[in-house]
């Protein structure tokens, strides 16, 4: 016998429906986002594949060199699947990539997934240290410059950000190595660790700071930290330029807003206005610029990684490009692309939350 809906039951049904709608309202954007994520990665793979195929590099020739016989060259082409039509090559790649297997790298002879697991943590470690440093200093500099607009502090902040924008990053890296490593002996040389520590600490996570910390060797941890400092400062300098400029500009724009005039009329001082009223209002913009800087550090630290012999994914990708190493190019691009999309999504979420809590 069908149960009649009592008012209580009706409420429960409605509440269940509401809950399921609530669940749906969560599921729908998530699935939409997942679709967009998958499509972005597919598009990225397609474009990268097309670009590697349009490039003049012949992966088989890159692998066997110029002295090899024709039969060796043909054998390499077969092994790399280059004899197959392009769509077949692409879909075979997508098929294997979906199973988490990016194939074998031509330039290292290792599985691409293993190479990425080795190189990406090095880049994440460097980029994270750089963004923490760059964002802290950049925000402080931007806020100070805006609060003391027109003073020497403002001038200095603008000069630093202009310098950070315009100076070639590899040149800055070399200059810092020359000064702090070669001249002052304050910092160690290129690489992630001194040779005495490099092969005595087991790589567990791939993050030198974490691995040396859990190894319990204080000297090794200090050495890893010291090696990280210089390249992180170089990258941070580049990031802080963007962050401080934007922070300054955003605060100055807000200072002309009506709510600031009202707050001033109520007797609030500049410090209070900036920290209590303006910063929460521009926090979404600041979060976006910091996230964008972080994302660009994750994929664009190639020259810093080269100068500091930092075995990160940027340099891995560049070396792969020069070697026409298609599995490595595609694998590394997908991983970097995926982290870019994830970072963007997290930023959007963060910005949405900050926007909802805006204070005027």
């Amino acid at each position: 016998m069908p149960q009649r809906a009592t008012p209580d039951n009706a409420d429960m049904t409605n509440s269940r429906q509401r809950n399921s709608w609530r669940e749906l309202s969560f599921v729908w954007p998530l699935s939409k986002w997942l679709w967009s994520f998958a499509l972005t990665l597919f598009g990225l793979a397609l474009v990268t594949f097309a670009m590697t195929r349009l490039s003049p590099i012949d992966p088989a020739l890159q692998l066997v060199g110029d002295h090899a016989s024709q039969s060796t060259y043909q054998q390499a082409r077969l092994e790399l699947g280059l004899d197959q039509p392009l769509p077949v090559q692409f879909f075979r790649y997508v098929e294997t990539a979906l199973s988490g297997n990016f194939g074998q790298s031509i330039s290292t002879g290792q599985p691409v997934a293993k190479d990425i697991a080795r190189t990406f943590p090095a880049t994440i470690e460097l980029a994270t240290a750089a963004i923490i440093l760059g964002a802290s200093v950049g925000l402080a500099l931007g806020i100070t410059a805006a609060m003391r607009q027109g003073t020497w502090v403002d001038g200095l902040a603008r000069f630093v950000s202009l310098f950070g924008y315009s100076v070639p990053i590899f040149w800055l890296g070399l200059l810092m190595l020359l000064l702090f490593y070669a001249r002052l002996h304050w910092a160690p040389g290129p690489g992630r660790a001194d040779v005495v520590f490099q092969y005595t600490v087991k790589s567990v996570t791939g993050f030198a700071l974490i691995d040396t910390w859990i190894s319990g060797k204080a000297g090794a941890f200090r050495d890893a930290l010291a090696h990280l400092a210089l390249p992180a400062i170089v990258l941070a300098f580049h990031a802080l330029a963007a962050i401080s400029r934007l922070t300054r500009a955003a605060i100055l724009t807000e200072l002309g807003q009506e709510y600031v005039t009202t707050a001033r009329a109520k007797g609030a001082n500049l410090r209070r206005i900036v920290f209590i009223h303006i910063l929460p209002n521009i926090s979404g913009t600041l979060l976006t610029v910091i996230a964008l800087s972080y994302a660009s550090l994750l994929e664009g630290a190639v020259l810093t990684e080269t100068v500091f012999a930092w075995p990160g994914i940027g340099r891995y990708l560049t070396t792969a490009m020069f070697a026409g190493d298609m599995p490595a190019i595609l694998g590394a691009t997908l991983v970097v692309g995926a982290s870019f999309v994830l970072l963007n999504a997290m930023t959007d979420l963060g910005v949405a939350r900050l926007e909802s809590g805006k204070k005027r």
């Binding site: 003049p56 590099i57 012949d58 992966p59 020739l61 890159q62 692998l63 066997v64 060199g65 110029d66 002295h67 090899a68 016989s69 024709q70 039969s71 060796t72 060259y73 054998q75 790298s105 031509i106 330039s107 290292t108 002879g109 290792q110 190479d115 080795r118 190189t119 590899f170 070399l174 190595l177 020359l178 490593y181 070669a182 002052l184 002996h185 304050w186 910092a187 160690p188 040389g189 290129p190 690489g191 001194d194 040779v195 005495v196 490099q198 092969y199 200090r222 010291a226 400092a229 080269t306 100068v307 500091f308 012999a309 075995p311 340099r315 891995y316 070396t319 020069f322 026409g324």
Partner: protein, 528 residues
């Protein structure tokens, strides 16, 4: 007052932070029992001697593996015993029987005839990049099993079908691809009939002075002393660090954090020459730089008059003295100095008027333009610019088109180029290594440089194949001299330079040895 004090506080904080940070950084020197080498190892693809054909891997093979015979370190033309205690040539002229010396692999396993058979047959069957070297003996996948046989527990016999003498066969056996690997260690690692190739890409199984302790691609190669080696190395380990930036490499060796630095530029070498604590070794190298003309690209490039004129449009002295400053010397024949029979005379120098006359006499009208494809790297671009300037004086515009190496090789292979600048390093220590590249092209059937130049030379091919058969060393050298003279007089190649490898080395490092050929890098006797 408050501003000053807050600034002073800020500066004080920054300064003390800097000091606190700098205090723990002890300026490290390399450990006494470890040799640290700074160079780029980005080229390394495989440390399997049957596959590795890149500079980094080739430089490691003499330290990881031994062959039946090897080239003398000081005089590469002399072949000496290594894993073979002695050898005897067969009366048929196409076989050698080797008596094996008492030697052990790093695993502790003794070196047996089975290891020789396994090593050489797998190299042929795998058919990787350097396989063509063993193919010179006529060894192919389908006949190599019968060509290498066990005589008894101490003897192994090698036979070949190619029309070459035992002297040449011995030279071939000095090449890295002829390295002997430990069959008992490698075989269990084989997957999908790869003869252990996948495993040997990053591991070693040889009887050399060192073994691979760790190899992290694009990061470092760590070699560990082989305890079973009959000639134990002086140092416990060698760390070859990947330092892609040459500026960073220079700093490392200057600061004592690296004992050896390779691949520095002419400017950097110049700056380091008088620096205390380090020295610059200039080691003659068998590498040669030459211009390759495609004689089939257009009628002008096919004319011997143009080839001859080109030889007088190179500023040999200017390039070596001003551009390369010690990195190369003038050399104008296809065999590098140090190889038996190499021609050392330099009959050509920059003479624009003579070149113009040769062009006019040959009916070649100027001005005209040539596409000049060049590696997008130094010193090729600098040399190309020098050539552009000197060729222009004779009314020839060189349109320099920089490109990546594989593209330039691909265009060479396909004959889709007009002029290019290339280098050549012999693959093994025998004149035939270079002669077979530049003086063989009977019918466009083999991938030789002569074929890439579109230059069909049946007569020279026959002469080259006769030279490789010659058993008398003096007569053989004379044949190669004759071949070089012919190619020097008329060919679509302009040989210009022979390299000098400049290695920056710490004063503390003793007994570092490096020979003429790319594989002749030895760390076993190095002491600190």
């Amino acid at each position: 007052m408050s501003i000053i004090s807050s600034r002073a506080k800020l500066l004080g904080t920054v300064f003390s932070l800097a000091l606190a940070f700098s205090a723990p950084v002890v300026h490290a020197e390399t450990p006494p029992n470890v040799l640290v080498v700074a160079q780029s190892i980005d080229d390394a693809v495989s440390f399997d001697p049957a596959e590795g054909f890149e500079l980094t891997t080739v430089q490691s093979f003499n330290n990881l593996y031994q062959r039946l015979v090897q080239s003398n370190r000081d005089d590469g033309t002399k072949i000496e015993a290594a894993l073979a205690a002695s050898w005897e040539a067969g009366s048929d002229g196409k076989s050698l029987t080797f008596a094996l010396a008492d030697a052990k692999f790093a695993s502790g396993n003794p070196v047996r005839p089975e290891d020789v058979i396994f090593s050489l047959t797998r190299a042929v069957k795998l058919n990787k990049s350097p396989a063509f070297i063993l193919n010179e003996l006529g060894w192919k996948a389908d006949n190599v099993d019968a060509a290498i046989t066990k005589v008894d527990d101490k003897h192994v016999r090698l036979t070949w079908t190619a029309d070459v003498g035992s002297g040449f066969a011995l030279s071939i056996l000095t090449a890295p691809i002829a390295s002997i690997v430990d069959e008992q260690t490698v075989s269990p690692q084989a997957k999908d009939n790869d003869f252990g190739n996948g495993w040997l890409k990053t591991n070693s199984a040889g009887s050399g002075a060192y073994t691979i302790a760790t190899y992290t691609p694009h990061e470092a190669l760590v070699l560990q002393a082989n305890a079973s080696s009959s000639d134990k190395p002086t140092l416990e380990s060698v760390i070859i660090r990947n330092v892609p930036d040459v500026g960073a490499r220079r700093l490392l060796v200057e600061q004592g954090d690296a004992d050896i630095a390779r691949g520095l530029s002419a400017d950097q070498i110049e700056a380091l020459k008088d620096k205390s604590g380090i020295k610059v070794l200039s080691v003659p190298s068998a590498r040669q730089d030459y211009i390759l003309l495609n004689s089939k690209a257009n009628p002008t490039l096919g004319k011997p008059a143009f080839w001859e004129a080109a030889r007088y449009l190179v500023d040999y002295d200017g390039i070596t003295k001003n551009l390369l400053r010690g990195h190369s010397s003038v050399h104008q024949a296809f065999l590098p100095n140090g190889f038996p029979g190499a021609l050392s005379d330099t009959p050509f120098k920059l003479d624009v008027e003579k070149a113009k006359k040769i062009l006019a006499d040959g009916g070649i009208k100027t001005p005209f333009k040539i596409e000049f494809i060049v590696f997008n790297d130094q010193p090729f671009l600098s040399i190309a610019q020098s050539l552009q300037s000197t060729f222009a004086q004779a009314g020839i515009t060189l349109d320099i088109q920089p490109g990546v190496a594989s593209d330039i090789y691909a265009r060479g292979r396909a004959g889709k180029f007009e002029m290019t600048l290339r280098y050549w390093i012999p693959d093994y220590f025998d004149a035939h290594s270079n002669a077979s590249a530049f003086a063989i092209n009977k019918d466009n059937s083999a991938n030789t440089v002569a074929k890439q130049a579109g230059w069909v030379i049946p007569e020279l091919t026959d002469e080259t194949l006769a030279a490789v058969k010659e058993q008398d060393a003096a007569k053989r050298a004379a044949l190669y001299q004759d071949l070089q003279k012919k190619i020097q007089a008329s060919s679509p190649f302009v040989f210009m330079l022979q390299g000098n490898d400049q290695v920056v080395i710490s004063d503390k490092v003793k007994n570092y040895a490096q020979g003429l050929n790319a594989d002749q890098v030895y760390y076993d006797k190095v002491a600190k």
